[in-house]
Symmetry: C2
DNA sequence: CATATAGTTCAAGCTGTTTTGAACTGCATG
DNA sequence: CATGCAGTTCAAAACAGCTTGAACTATATG
């Protein structure tokens, strides 16, 4: 299964008693992985967000047990998505990184693009298949009706996705208010 | 990316002009893969559904270009989920398989279980992390508040999933009516 | 009960994705 | 302008999930 929704490997293994920081960081990693991003993108963001200060790539590498190259690539993605900011502190030789906005907003944006176009494409394929069947004298009425029903399946999926995105957009709004308390 | 939602490899490549059957079958494979199942589970179901007759494993193997072992396993899954029925025609040495119910119903059922428990687990992890932080004198009020905000993220996700499932349930209802036309 | 065919199992292989780490580039400093 | 460190790149390794196919078991038939 190369599934989209879903998670075979369950959640984070509970870590040490006092280690609530990595527990929270990993949990965010899991949420974001659920949304179709890399687990470590979520972990990096969560760590920066939790610490609430500009940290260097070297610190992230050490604290999150990532490789040098990995940190570089993860930060580039997060920066591109606008959820992490790169700042140069004066008198400091290296860049520092800072969590900027919340993740859900960005997740919704990205998912909106890729999931929608994907489902639309599937719907179009089914519609095309039905059109071809309608022109094929060998295709029975019943068969065409069955394709029609499969189209409904795809349509229902798309509709569900719409609601899903609308809800998350709504929730972001709600969260923003809370974030500004 | 081991993502859940989402699809890197885009959709089905359009096949031959007249080959609307495999086009439809592949499209269903893609929808069902989107829902986190195996692409070929969807293809097998769609093929059986479209043909609307009980077919042998050998026929599926040939028509869908699958291996013997693969067909066996795919059918076992579909049977277990109750969307494919195994029937023995009298005077026939081998089993035949028949599409039974619609897929969305089953998808919702399965997703309901695995996704929900997954997200609940994440929420629980975050709640636990916060509880630990609250007991840790070294943890600042601000940090605890930030974990609280991450919890909101997970809560929003769970809520979105609830709506998502509710909607698909609703759509199944609507589809059932149509299916019975 | 022997044989043939259907169906199952599972280790090995394949495919696609993520991570690593070594080589490289760029930049700031002495 | 040499040196060292920060940051990037990318090929290779590690990994995860899916599929294959050969060995196996079960079942029907003569």
């Amino acid at each position: 299964m190369k599934g989209y929704l879903w998670a075979p490997s369950a959640a984070t293994q509970l870590s040490e008693q006092g280690d609530w920081e990595s527990m929270a960081v990993d949990a965010v990693g899991n949420v974001i992985e659920f949304w179709g991003f890399k687990r470590n993108q979520g972990r990096v963001w969560a760590f920066l967000y939790l610490r609430d200060e500009a940290l260097t790539a070297a610190e992230l590498e050490k604290e999150l047990a990532l490789s040098k190259g990995g940190v570089s690539m993860l930060l580039r993605d997060l920066e591109r998505w606008g959820v992490v900011l790169r700042v140069r502190k004066q008198g400091d030789a290296s860049w520092r990184y800072k969590a900027e906005t919340d993740l859900l907003q960005m997740a919704r944006r990205v998912i909106e693009e890729r999931e929608f176009s994907f489902i639309s494409r599937i719907r179009a394929d089914l519609a095309q298949a039905r059109r071809l069947a309608e022109q094929d004298p060998a295709a029975s009425k019943a068969k065409i009706e069955r394709i029609r029903r499969m189209e409904l399946l795809a349509e229902a999926t798309e509709k569900a996705l719409t609601v899903f995105l609308k809800t998350s957009r709504f929730d972001v709004g709600a969260m923003f208010d809370l974030f500004r308390t």
